[in-house]
Amino acid sequence: MTSEVFNVYIAVLIATIFGFVLVGSALIGNLILSPRQKSPHKGVTYECGMLPIGRSRAQVHFRYYLFAILFLIFDIEAVFLFPWAVSFVELGEQAFYEMLVFIGILAFGLLYAWKKGVLNWR
């Protein structure tokens, strides 16, 4: 049984390596084939043909962080949903209502966010 799980993930390991190899070989191929001409203007970041004004790595808006938190919470909920989805029929009513309560509590959180206008971006 262990080996079965392990066998599956060998393919994942190899896929990972293949991904790296493919991208790497493309980049190396490019390195060999491409011309290289240094020019100070090439190194300037694109900003519609003008020199960039001020810094580029400014802070992102707080809004994005909030959505990341929302995502994290619902992601964790989804993690709980998966084992439930495959077993709730066998477990019967009780499991269903447990999940209903779980979803309900989180839905309340979503509703709160909604009411507070967090989902409205502005």
Binding site: V5, V60, F62, L66, I76, P83, W84, V86, S87, Q94
Partner: protein, 165 residues
């Protein structure tokens, strides 16, 4: 199964390297990226332990969600490189905390009765997890939802405070 062991050492090395990178990187974004490496390494260790579900959860929650959260959090601040070691008056406390933590970890590692070969690790299917979660551990499960909701509301309250300023 020697190659499994070999694989373990490789993965462990990557994980540790990632973890070291987190604390040594001078740029916080680089630290966050090293953190992804370490977290994914842990996921790989879970696979070696035949805990498929846990590994995927690790990838989904830590590899995807937490990383993005951290990256966004980093990008909220003024990202810049930190030159030289961070120092401050709390240095002795940090040393104490680190020592205690190290001691606990060493104690835990040495005191645990290890199950033995990976071969013998019990494979828990997702159905079993579901069963356990919704019968034996139903109460903690519900409490987890409350915890999540509190986290959500907390974040919103904080954010609104931020916006109010």
């Amino acid at each position: 199964m020697t190659y499994e062991e070999a694989l373990f050492y490789v993965i462990a090395a990557i994980t540790v390297a990632g973890a070291l990178g987190v604390v040594t990187a001078r740029n916080v974004i680089h630290s966050a990226l090293f953190l992804i490496l370490a977290l994914l390494g842990v996921a790989a260790v879970y696979v070696l332990l035949a805990s498929e579900f846990l590994a995927i959860v690790q990838v989904l929650v830590y590899g995807g969600a937490v990383t993005i959260l951290i990256l966004f959090a980093m990008m909220l601040t003024r990202v810049r490189d930190i030159e030289g070691p961070l120092d401050g008056p709390q240095r002795p406390f940090a040393a104490l905390a680190a020592t205690v933590f190290l001691g606990t970890t060493v104690l835990a590692v040495t005191q645990t009765e290890w199950r033995g070969e990976t071969d013998e690790a019990t494979v828990v299917t997702i159905e079993q997890i579901g069963e356990a979660l919704f019968s034996t551990w139903a109460m903690p499960f519900e409490i987890a939802s409350l915890l999540l909701m509190v986290a959500l509301i907390g974040a919103i309250v904080l954010a609104r405070g931020e916006e109010g300023e």
